[in-house]
């Protein structure tokens, strides 16, 4: 078996209107963050079904972060409020299952906050890396 250097795998769901644009801005400004972060574009953070988060952990993700517009700024008026509530519930359940709170996060990043996006990702990746590989929920049939 090949021994690989441990690198965390992080799935980031970004809403199309704020956070995805914030990520683009981070790129425009050449602000570095780890390549471990892979972004999935969704129309609104409220499109993120808790199933997607579970799926990611099941398939071996070490951390999942959901980024949306700031409260009050949602392109769809109220979508991020749903996200906030749904994820608060989900994350506390995941915590109960042994997926540490540091592995999950909801962050508000506006389209102007490229620097915040990069800083958030650096911080999140660092915290997840410190926790090491996530074994909980992982479906061993999908072992990397």
């Amino acid at each position: 078996m090949q021994v690989k250097e441990y690198k965390p795998l992080i799935v980031a769901f970004c809403c199309n209107w704020c956070s995805y644009a914030g990520a683009d801005l981070a790129g425009n400004n050449r602000l570095n963050y780890p390549a471990d972060v892979k972004i999935i574009r969704v129309p609104c953070s409220c499109r993120v079904n808790p199933m997607f988060v579970l799926r990611a952990f099941q398939r071996g993700a070490d951390g999942v972060i959901i980024c949306g517009c700031h409260p009050g700024d949602c392109h769809y008026t109220s979508g991020n409020y749903f996200t906030r509530r749904r994820m608060a519930l989900l994350f506390s359940m995941l915590d109960y299952l042994g997926i540490e709170k540091e592995r999950t996060r909801v962050e508000w990043v506006s389209a102007a906050e490229g620097a915040k996006f990069a800083a958030t990702m650096n911080d999140f990746a660092e915290k997840v890396a410190a926790l090491g590989e996530n074994k909980r929920l992982e479906d061993l049939r999908c072992k990397r």
């Binding site: 390549a35 574009r41 129309p43 609104c44 990611a56 993700a61 008026t77 999908c142 990397r144």
Partner: protein, 664 residues
Amino acid sequence: MQRIGVFVCWCGSNIAGTVDVQAVSEALKSEPGVVFSANYQYMCSQAGQNMIIEAVKKHKLTGIVVCSCSPRMHEATFRKTAAAAGLNPYMVEIANIREQCSWVHKDMATGTEKAIILGKAAIAKVNLNTPLTPGESPVTKRALVIGGGIAGIQTALDIADAGFEVDIVEKKPTIGGKMAQLDKTFPTLDCAACILTPKMVDVAQNDKIRIFSYSEVTEVKGFVGNFDVKIKKKARFVNESLCTGCGACTEKCPMKKVPNEFNLGMDNRRAIYIPFAQAVPKVATIDPDYCNMLKNGKCGVCAKVCTAGAIDYTQKDEFIEEKYGAIVVATGFNPISMDKFDEFAYNQSKDVITSLEFERLTNAAGPTAGKLLRPSDGKHPHTIVFVQCVGSRCDSCAEKGKEYCSKICCMYTAKHAMLTRDKYPDTDVYVFYIDVRTPGKSFDEFYRRAVEEYGVHYIKGMVGKVSPEGDKLKVQASDLLNNKQLHIDADLVVLAAAIEPDKSARPLATMLTASMDTNDFFTEAHPKLRPVESPTAGVFLSGTCQGPKDIPETVSQASAAAAKVIGLLAKDKLTGNPCIASSDELMCNGCSSCERVCAYGAITYVDKEFRMPDRTTAIRRVAQVNPAVCQGCGACTVACPSGAMDLRGFASNQIIAEVDAICK
């Protein structure tokens, strides 16, 4: 199985500098469904696009993945390319390997590895893409404006100016609204009637505009472009087309003791009345609560004096049904009731008045013909105390008042104080303020003039109690800067009452499925970027129904709303966003979870007949998404407990495929 073509862009050295594009296109070649993979210097160039078109034809591609810059940059470009090649434009996915890869990573190995994973995710998604076609719906080229104040008037004029038909529904007998009651307008002090009444006449004379006065909207159905609206024309017992507005009836009517609402009850009108001289339409209305003929059949004077034969005691409420493409809400505001603030003795003394009553008292067409006289004894007041923020900026637990700043009070109080000092220099004028808020063009200068040139006494503090003693109003107040309690013997006290949305707004919002905030102000689709649109498509907001505003702001918003309406009505057909929610009716259990989270009211329920497995039929309640109204946020897809609701273009299985591809 799709036949996918992958196109990796170098973007000059922008991508190729950190990502080994050759390696990426090689690695993606063996992904499921991929039948062609290439790379090129600039995919977005004409040559690059031609390369895609040729590949589609040559390899019979059904899906395209472009590994390039952000989809926010060139997704539209490549969709057009796909369409030019005869593909459905929604069969294109972009892997963002520039902004989110090559530009943020420095190391070629890392960049290449990540680019491959991003490419795989896009391929996994395209494998599940389905061709999407935007829905189309026709547009009725007529607008409805609800409310005939300055906001509704301006919106209607602007829409009519662009050549579209507009109907104004006004619940009062005349249009004009609050502005018609005002005397002068800040900060320029031009008279409200002089600038408003010509606009009212323009409305009356514009052949594109119909006015339904003394009317209310009772039912709204349909959606953007296709509203069906029922309007109740209340019986005014006067035939509008015959009445000439001569006013003979209003002079002869024997019922003289009807409180005149136009002058806020400070004088009386007759049972048959025209609210004010410049009313539009200038048609009399009979008040059924006071008319003796209507109440007990004894009178009929107005019918006798009317030479036009316009009086019709048998008139009934009439219902009109009309189709509209767009609806503008312009329902306006009212000052709040002062009942809960009787420490200021509004209900205990006639000489404690609200600022709107003060407007009427100084208006040349008002109850005192413009002379500032006390309502109690008709004497000229020598000491006037203005109290600001009565009912504004209250705590939510205070059981009275509003939490918000009413915005217009600081300026109109400065205006009242200044005009009083200007006309009656022998009058002492005190203004008690908490803050003076004057953010507007020439606003602070105006307030400073009231203080510096006109000698208005501005005192930082608040009035605690007004005690009507004899013919004086004993005002007990604080002067915070001098740390003193003041006792002023005033002749008149004027309260800057908070303003609130008109009471008709709440039931109207329910009819329109337009959302409101806790204060019953209509909420805008986006507080910064879509300030004149309601989240409900096709419903627009004009004036103070959306929040406190002064006249300049109201007029700008009114014109902005008109521009949005014109933009909508100018289209023959509405093309929707195809990435919308849709419900699998076989899975839907009719629970309403999706309806409750939809900010746009796009989801309705229908009872539908289904064939059951045992060949019987059953009626089930299922959700239906209106494609013209859905904005595609996806909130409903997560709320749906049965998994019936999904979002086209961002379907659950597509996103899960992306997750899987990334985590592989």
